[in-house]
Amino acid sequence: MKKIRIGAATGFYGDSIIPAIPSITDGNIDYLCFDALAELTMAILQKDRQKNPEWGYTKDIGPFMETLLPLCVEKKVKILTNAGGINPLGAKKVVDEIIKRLNLDLKVAVVYGDDMMSNLEELKQNNLLVNMQSKESFKHNDYELLFANAYLGAKPLVEALQQGADIVISGRTIDAAQFAAPMIYEFGWEWDDWDRLAKGMTIGHLMECSGQAVGGNFSGDWRSIDLINIGFPIAEVDELGEAIITKAPGTGGLVSRDTLKEQLLYEVHDPYNYILPDVVVNIADTCLEDIGENQVRVYGSTGKPATDTYKALIGYADGYMAEAIFGYSWPDALEKAKSASEILIAHMERDKLLYEDIDISYIGYNSMHRSVINEPDPDLNEVFLRLAIKVRKRSDGTRLSRIVSPLGLSGPPFLAGMLGRGRATQLLGICPILIPKELVEKQVKVEM
């Protein structure tokens, strides 16, 4: 039976490529696939593009390719990634330049057309600017829009492979599709073979978060896992869509039923109906079986027909967060931090620094879990106050810093660690919508 081996590289923009290198050199893989995009990433890339119209892709794609391409050429490994972000053509340009400089012979395909920014009026006329969760209509003229992208599936990626691409760079294609596309291409799966598509997407879902499937964020016995030398997952998939998940020999991390099951359900809301562009996956049917050291058999996922819409995200500017963080020492650290927050609130009122929302918490005590933490104040050695306000203007952050700074001489005793006085960061509103597939597909292009 025909089999292919697929390795995972990064799981987000900012992840390391290093744990994927042993998969190429010693893992006998045919494909290396990586995910680079998240909701937040799209906003970061949009800010880049505002600075320079040539940008808008994940900027580490250049250095990554410099490292990977000589190895991938030697081992005949093809690459798929959605690192193109909101400028896949720009990303292709960067990669083509590197290929030329390294004097390699590789074909780069680019997939684009997921960008819906120029279609907003058309979407509005079709009454499609409706938040799919709240069902409220989205008044796009009220906001500064930062991006609008549909989540594409595996189809254009498979098309790129059929055209002979060695490297496929796309914009907002879903994470799991990077991994499923090589399976669909190599095994010739049909687009209505729902069970196999579901199996492929399940394997992709297990792989798409890199280290998180192989011991990263593991809530079991994490102490026993070598995270220093973690190796990213490898899937050996057969034409029926069954897989063995493993990793390169000699790497750290752990592949087991216990590490993989945590990833299986990660960020899937209804596990009986996990809606992806190409198929609706019943991921609850999946079975995970330990079959050897760092070897887990994955099988059993089933699928249902795909829906007739793509999900798209519209990102818009939604004011700023201004943040102050500073610490107090024992004795009575928590009490002092609470007293400091009262002073700040009084002085914001005095100076008419208006805010739409406020969030106060105590780092070292309850900043993650708030009122769930109701133990009597343990005699904490130190506590940091974190106060965040939602404001309309970036300059309101400067106003907050003028209110925070005087606490250095005119507040409770033993303050240290002034980590933030009023640093302002832009907040991003997100509106998820559904768009009929034909409206998107008519503009999706695959170019070599």
Binding site: E39, L40, A43, Q133, N217, F218, S219, G220, R257, D258, K261, E262, Q263, L264, L265, Y266, E267, V268, H269, D270, P271, Y272, N282, A284, D285, T286, C287, L288, E289, G300, G315, D318, M321, D357, I358, D359, S361, I363, S367, M368, H369, R370, S371, V372, R386, A388, I389, K390, L427, L428, G429, I430, P432
Partner: protein
């Protein structure tokens, strides 16, 4: 005997917009059966208190002895617009580990790891 949930389960959590997604994995079938009665939607929602503003939906995933909790409106607006220090809900799974449950000591003593368990996934209640 009373134990913290931390002694019985694995947890992995994530986000989608303003919703949090908390998955709880029992270490064997007997504990899974016990938690099925114990970890009700109502009890979990009450435990999260004002961290979770919306509904809590539970799914059972017997193949991996898991309960998936979808916590709606749980992240103060969601990762990109939340004022919370954990706007992505990366630690929402840790909250529930503090829950104290009253469990038969016999269930803990015989704590063999689960073998592969083929459940009937269509028997969702």
């Amino acid at each position: 005997m009373k134990v913290l949930l931390k002694e019985l389960v694995q947890v992995r959590c994530g986000d989608k917009g303003n919703d949090s997604d908390v998955n709880i994995f029992a270490s064997n079938e007997r504990i899974y059966a016990y938690l099925k009665e114990e970890l009700t939607e109502e009890k979990v929602k009450a435990f999260y208190g004002d961290l979770v503003k919306g509904d809590v939906i539970r799914y059972e995933v017997p193949n991996v002895l898991a309960f998936k909790f979808h916590l709606k409106e749980a992240l103060g607006g969601g990762g990109s617009s939340s004022l919370r220090i954990d706007g992505l809900g990366k630690t929402m799974g840790a909250v529930i580990l503090r829950m104290e449950v009253d469990i038969d000591e016999g269930l803990l003593k015989n704590d063999k790891k689960d073998s592969l368990y083929i459940g009937q996934s269509n028997s969702i209640s």
